[in-house]
């Protein structure tokens, strides 16, 4: 069965789940096949590429946060592995 997800912009390195996705389900994204590494609830995000620590996570074609650890293709992306760069900059002021 095809996993339902949406990619808001062609520049994005994450996709948003349009249904609850189980760990181990396979995604076919433009011929690129990969497995989902953790279960992803509806509305949550997963990685479309490997994203190195300190690199930006992109959604809507824009930076939504910085990876706080290395994120692998198919990983769930949320508050455990990204933080707001806006808040980071603000707190550093």
């Amino acid at each position: 069965m095809n996993v339902k997800f949406i990619i808001m912009n062609t520049r994005d390195n994450c996709a948003t789940a349009l249904e609850d996705i189980d760990q181990g389900e396979e995604v076919d994204y433009n011929g690129k096949k990969f497995k989902i590494n953790q279960s992803i609830p509806l509305g949550h995000k997963f990685a479309l590429n490997d994203i190195k620590q300190e690199k930006y996570v992109i959604k809507y074609g824009q930076r939504i946060g910085i990876a706080t650890e290395d994120i692998k293709l198919g990983d769930w992306i949320h508050t455990h592995n990204i933080i707001s760069y806006y808040l980071k900059e603000l707190l550093n002021q």
Partner: protein, 395 residues
């Protein structure tokens, strides 16, 4: 394709999509009188509000500007202003400002009418009926979209709004601006974290500075008050729904504004003086927001909702768009456009924007929105300025 809609031309050149009579109380004390008059007239609305007495300085100006704006909206054919007589927001001054639009405006104070509230209601109905008859003489004509001002609102948002209904509205807003029209994005609390993007879209340096100063000024105010607003954004509910950062949340909000360049920031209820996309100062409270949009001259408001919201506006029809399948089912009577097919994968955002476009055209041409049919005529005026009373505390 030649995009047009049917509307009513006003004496000041603006175009209305409704032809209502507005009964505007200058002060809270005559709300009931205004409502009783509106109830007895065809296609009339009462702009009930809790203000008008004991206001001064910027607080007075803000309320005054909003009431003038609501009455000036081109969806209103004519206005009957009702004062009590002893308030400082005078019916006469309100009427004088409303007459700048060249539309029919009458006013009276209840204390000047012998016979109390019953006589005042009868007097108001008489004036209103005369105005109604004149309004009915007016015929609709064809206009292009450069005459349209669109309000962009979201309320009761969930994690789905930002990936479905909001970007759908963004496409439609861009389309209206390409056709020479105007859009207004309120809710500055949901611009936070995206100011660099809004600044990039500013038409010049001065607008860029204003955007920067507005947002940093708000963040500084919070710091001064010791409020860790950003520490609680996104909210626990947002995080549970999948929003990871304030940037992601705000991006979902500003998606409603599409990609168009930003002409400037309007004060609350301030009408834009050029076409294109404008931001409006307003703190993200739905009814206050839509009141400000209607006062700024929006003839129609698009409101996205995830969790569902019934509210409407008496002056500008509100079209509700919802991306959440459960809400579209449970609150079907409060939703105009079901955008849940984006989530189910049956339709793309582009396809949904076509459906929304057709709905907007029908609404412009007179079809009632769900909030209109159900009688939602909500008004709340944002008091965004210092009042000496707000610092009072019991010791």
């Amino acid at each position: 394709m030649n995009e047009e809609f049917m509307g009513y031309e006003r004496s000041n050149g603006k175009v209305g999509i409704r032809n209502k009579i507005a009964i505007i109380p200058s002060v809270v004390c005559v709300n009931h009188i205004a409502e009783q008059i509106a109830n007895k007239l065809d296609d009339a609305i009462a702009i009930k509000h809790p203000l008008g007495c004991g206001q001064f300085g910027p607080d007075y100006n803000n309320t005054f500007r909003t009431l003038v704006g609501l009455g000036s909206n081109p969806n209103i054919y004519g206005v009957v202003v009702i004062g009590l007589g002893c308030e400082n927001l005078k019916s006469r001054v309100l009427a004088k400002n409303l007459r700048r639009t060249k539309k029919p405006v009458e006013f009276f104070d209840v204390q000047d009418i012998k016979g109390g509230s019953t006589a005042a209601i009868e007097h108001g109905i008489k004036i209103g009926n005369q105005m109604r008859q004149e309004a009915n003489e007016l015929k609709k004509e064809t206009f292009d979209f450069s005459n349209l001002v669109l309000g962009l609102e979201c309320g009761g948002s969930d994690s789905i709004s930002g990936i479905s209904a909001n970007p759908t509205v963004g496409i439609v807003s861009d389309r209206i601006i390409e056709l020479g029209g105007t859009s207004i994005l309120p809710e500055f609390t949901e611009w936070i974290g995206t100011e660099h993007l809004l600044i990039e879209r500013a038409i010049n340096e001065s607008v860029a500075h204003k955007i920067h100063n507005t947002i940093t000024g708000f963040v500084e105010n919070l710091k001064d008050l010791g409020i860790d607003f950003l520490g609680v954004q996104p909210t626990p509910g947002n995080i549970e729904g999948g929003l990871s950062t304030i940037e992601e949340k705000s991006l979902g909000n500003i998606a409603k504004s599409g990609k168009s360049p930003i002409q400037g920031i309007l004060d609350y209820s301030e009408p834009p003086n050029t076409k294109g996309l404008w931001l409006m100062l307003e703190p993200g409270l739905d009814v206050e927001s839509m009141t400000g949009l209607a006062a700024a001259g929006a003839q129609v408001i698009l409101m996205t909702t995830g969790r569902g919201s019934p509210c409407g506006n008496p002056v500008a029809p509100v079209i509700k768009l919802c991306g959440n399948p459960k809400t579209c089912d449970w609150m079907a009577e409060n939703i105009d456009v079901d955008a849940s097919q984006i989530i189910t994968g049956e339709k793309t955002i582009e396809e949904l924007s076509e459906i929304l476009w057709l709905k907007i055209k029908k609404t412009l041409n007179g079809e009632q929105t769900q909030a209109e049919k159900l009688g939602f005529e909500d008004i709340a005026i944002w008091r965004n300025t210092a009042s000496p009373f707000q610092y009072m505390h019991c010791k």
